[in-house]
């Protein structure tokens, strides 16, 4: 499946609708990064939310930066608090 990548701020209600979820792939990631199915409906959604198109590498860099910041916050926790949750892990966008 082909994807497009963008950043857009989730304003809440109707940012994405049930109908849109059925029309194209959509997944949210740290840094307000959205992975959008590359079809007509996905394009229409990016336009609706005024999404700023990113290359996959640019989107990945944003996500990685956010997770690295979360890792730093995790590393500052006490050992007991760290034992209660997993350290945020960097992952690859589809």
């Amino acid at each position: 499946m082909a994807y497009k990548y963008c950043t857009a701020t989730n304003w809440g209600k109707s940012f994405f609708t049930h109908e849109e979820r059925r029309q194209f792939h959509l997944s949210g990631h740290p840094g307000e990064v959205w992975v959008v199915g590359d079809n007509l409906y996905g394009d229409q959604w990016i336009s609706k939310v005024s999404g700023a198109i990113k290359s996959k590498a640019e989107a990945q860099a944003i996500v990685t930066g956010e997770i690295e910041a979360a890792q730093a916050a995790y590393d500052a926790l006490s050992a007991e608090q760290q034992a209660q949750q997993a350290r945020p892990a960097i992952y690859n966008l589809p």
Binding site: K13, F16, G28, G31, V63, I67, A70, Q84, A86
Partner: protein, 315 residues
């Protein structure tokens, strides 16, 4: 002039997208209004159009635990009066106008036994749990609720304790079979469900246990073992969404529904997250807060279309 039906015998409807799958199997998550206070490890109560979110914490190590309480009207969250005891990893039950918040945790190593009642306006102190604990599950209503499992002193000991609230006080009842924390609950004090959670780190649990008012019995397992997720509904129609899972990145958007017998994969959250909360029903649910790596205030609404698929026959 003859129309298409007159020539071919029936009409054909052109659809821009695939036909919907009926009921919960075709349900999807859409965006809802954002929480005013982004947070993790919070609790919830109520319905999709009358929800309540309370307590929790920031992912920042310096941030205090939260006492904030917010009400959802189906579109947006509004600040309500705060909990009396700020805490995270607590449990909730009931409705937006008759809710219960109980248990919880405040770092470092303070397990909470406080129980508070919300009347739609303010939180009032109720009688305490017998066993202080956090990371527990809650189910039921304000006058008939269960507190299930969790972690307690000393040293984050796993709990299989279950207590029942009658609107006035908590009483110990039969224990769940598998002690665990960060599990979720659904249903009532006579038809309850406890599912998922974690046993000693880093083990994730996929077990479901059904409560019939007197005993816990094993049900079929979740397909995806998880902790720190959103769970709600009733014993025969429950939902599990998101959470902390094994591997990397250790969070999921996966959603499953329970029909009283087995768990089935449903459409995923748009944003994978853990340490979120949720409330509502299997056909009209709500999930909010949590962390994607960084904490989020995003809300998603799970809605099943109310229609029936019928077979078309022509002659």
């Amino acid at each position: 002039m003859a129309d298409y039906k007159g020539i071919k015998g029936f009409t054909v409807q052109s659809l821009a997208t695939d036909p919907l799958t009926a009921g919960v199997a075709g349900a999807t998550w859409s965006s809802g209004g954002a929480l005013n206070t982004a947070r993790v490890r919070l609790a919830g109560a109520g319905t999709q159009t009358a929800g309540l979110a309370f307590g929790g914490a920031s992912t920042s190590p310096s941030a205090p635990v939260q006492d904030a309480s917010e009400e959802y009207d189906g579109s947006s969250w509004a600040e309500g009066n705060n909990l009396n005891t700020a805490r995270r990893s607590l449990a909730g039950a009931g409705t937006q106008t008759a809710a219960l918040g109980f248990g919880g945790y405040t770092p470092p190593a303070n397990y909470k036994n406080e129980s508070e009642e919300y009347n739609g306006t303010s939180w009032a102190e109720g009688n305490n749990l017998n066993t202080a604990r956090g990371y527990l599950a809650g189910l039921g209503i304000q006058t008939a609720a269960l507190a299930v499992g969790g972690a307690k002193s000393p040293s984050f000991a796993l709990s299989n304790d279950v207590e029942q609230y009658d609107g006035t006080s908590w009483s110990e009842i039969a224990e769940i079979n598998t002690a665990r924390y960060s599990l979720e609950g659904a249903g009532t004090t006579t038809a309850g469900l406890a599912f998922g959670g974690r046993t000693p780190s880093p083990t994730f649990n996929n077990e479901s246990e059904e409560w019939n008012g007197s005993a816990w019995t094993e049900g079929n397992n979740l397909n995806t073992a998880r902790g720190y997720f959103a769970g709600f509904g009733i014993q025969t129609a429950a939902l599990a969404a998101g959470g902390n899972v094994p591997g990397s990145p250790a969070l999921t958007a996966n959603t499953e529904g329970y029909d009283g017998t087995s768990w089935t994969e449903l459409n995923n959250l748009a944003t994978a997250r853990r340490q979120l909360a949720g409330n509502g029903t299997q056909t009209a649910g709500l999930a909010y807060g949590g962390t994607t790596g960084s904490q989020t205030n995003a809300t998603e609404e799970f809605t099943a279309d109310d229609f029936e698929v019928k077979t078309l026959t022509t002659s």
